[in-house]
Amino acid sequence: MPTPLEELFVKTKSENRAALIGYLPAGFPTQKDAKSIVKSMIDGGVDAIEIGYPYSDPVMDGAVIQAASEQAISNGAGAEEVFELLKMSVSYGAPSVVMSYWSPIEKYGSAKFASSISAAGGSGVITPDLTIEESNQWANETANMSINRIYVVAPSTVDDRLSKVTSQCSGFIYAASLMGVTGARSSVSINAKLLVDRIRKFSDTPIAVGLGVSTKEQAMEVAKYADGVIVGSAFIKIIQENGTGRSGLKKIKYLAASLAEGVRNGR
């Protein structure tokens, strides 16, 4: 049975556009606020939600997400908050996945983690630091579940490896646009398109580009060649700068709407 995430990419393909995926760590800045933010993102036009599991040592994240994760952890966010927010996001109508470093998943028990994702109606899990060499157990445990395993590939991933990693992905392939950590950049690296073109040689799975996308113009540009556009730090920064009052949430919705327009007008 296809996951809601897979169905989304069928739909956006038929509409000749890219999907917009928004990221937020669970429990940021509080669990209650996180729910309102996710709703505003979806209300504005975000197609799918990526719930981050806030982790103490996020080596792939830049300053914005690091600070958000620290805040969420100090507010007590853990597995329970991740699954709760996931459930809420799904019931609000968006296909949703969880992004988690491997340590929290392993500590929770990876098989149990996958079951909990499934039970919450989640479509899959993005594992940014689980290398393909360490993923056998995870693949076996999730083989008979209707959840997508999503791995990240990078501009430095050589062709042989690209073929191996992407063959293990379902739902979408997470293409890191640049060599670096998460966070807004003034422009999207040319490496993003080169990477997407290389992936197409090996895989028909949809490709979503993340890292460094924060504006409508950038979303438009990426939507020209990718199937999905992932935006995280830009949403979090709005909350860090404006709080979660009416004006903060309004700005979240506005950014989502503007990015949604971008992913519809790229082609």
């Binding site: 103490s56 597995a79 940014p128 630091d129 290398t131 360490e134 501009p155």
Partner: protein
Amino acid sequence: MASDKIITGIESTLLGHFGPYGGRFVPEALIAALDELSAAHISAQSDPKFQSELAELHRTYTGRPSILTEAKRFAEHAGGARILLKREDLNHTGSHKINNVLGQALLTKRMGKKRIIAETGAGQHGVASATAAALFGLECVVYMGEADTKRQALNVARMKLLGATVVPVTQGSKTLKDAINEAMRDWVTNVDTTHYLLGTVAGPHPFPTMVRDFQRIIGVEARSQVLELTGKLPDAVLACVGGGSNAIGIFHPFIDDKSVRLIGFEAGGSGLETGLHAATISGGSPGVLHGTRSYVLQDKDGQTVESHSISAGLDYPGVGPEHAYLNDIGRAEYRPVTDDQAMYAFSLLCKTEGIIPAIETAHALAGALEVGNELGKDAILLINLSGRGDKDVQTAAEYFGLPL
């Protein structure tokens, strides 16, 4: 000599696994660099030119082989056992860290990279890295937790004098763990030009294997020095364990000598029962941190728990995966030593032998007092005196209430 071969076969595959431990848990962006490093390490191991260049540096720059000192007056407090100190404190830059740094600096040149980054806790690895960078004409950036830059201010100045840039890390707990996170972020971003000169036997493959291979010269030398001096193998080999590089360096050549006990001493801080410690194997559980699976101090959600120790160099919530494995199969034992026990041994070595050890090393010396009394006067204990204590004078003076 069987124990002198490079690889003992403990790591089961090219992926750097030690039983269930080790491996690679890193962003995909780093894989190409780790593969490149792994290939460079393997080819260097069998390249006589590389090996002779490294040996020459050891001889003419570091001052190897380091000597063995018998600590007779200290031994009187350790049940009368014979105590032999492997004097890594006499190396250039003052600790065992230089052994690994020179090896990796040569590999950096071999890979054609011009910039090195390093993390440091006590500052010893940072100083050694800055030293090698100066020697080889490499750019050097050292990440150091802000809290550590304060308690190890002397080493910060040393690194700057050597031409390195020291970046104080203000994220998280502001200690070694966070310095490693920042170094990894730098590496992900600048991997084309930069080598991450990791200072211990943790991190993703090939670091645990490679750093061990560069540190095992300690054990190789010590094994033959003890044999020459006493005519037999030691009964026990002792070392302090933070990440575990000095310990694996002296343990590794003895692994096949089944009669030799290998005992690592972790930082017990204020005591295991207080929760304020850095005794990862004694007080942690298996998990994933900084790219490797090993024992980790973590909470129920897999979040890393802050470690505590009077010694900045042992103040780390992880430990090398090979130690985790040696512990689980029972080949090595790991015990906690509290701050107070370590400082007692620190003071004792100063006053009985005229040697000021690093506070890290003092944990192994405290262990020697314990093990010596357990094994009795016929026992021979080999201890890795991994570093000298000049950098710790301020901390020690505060601890003992000496006016400065």
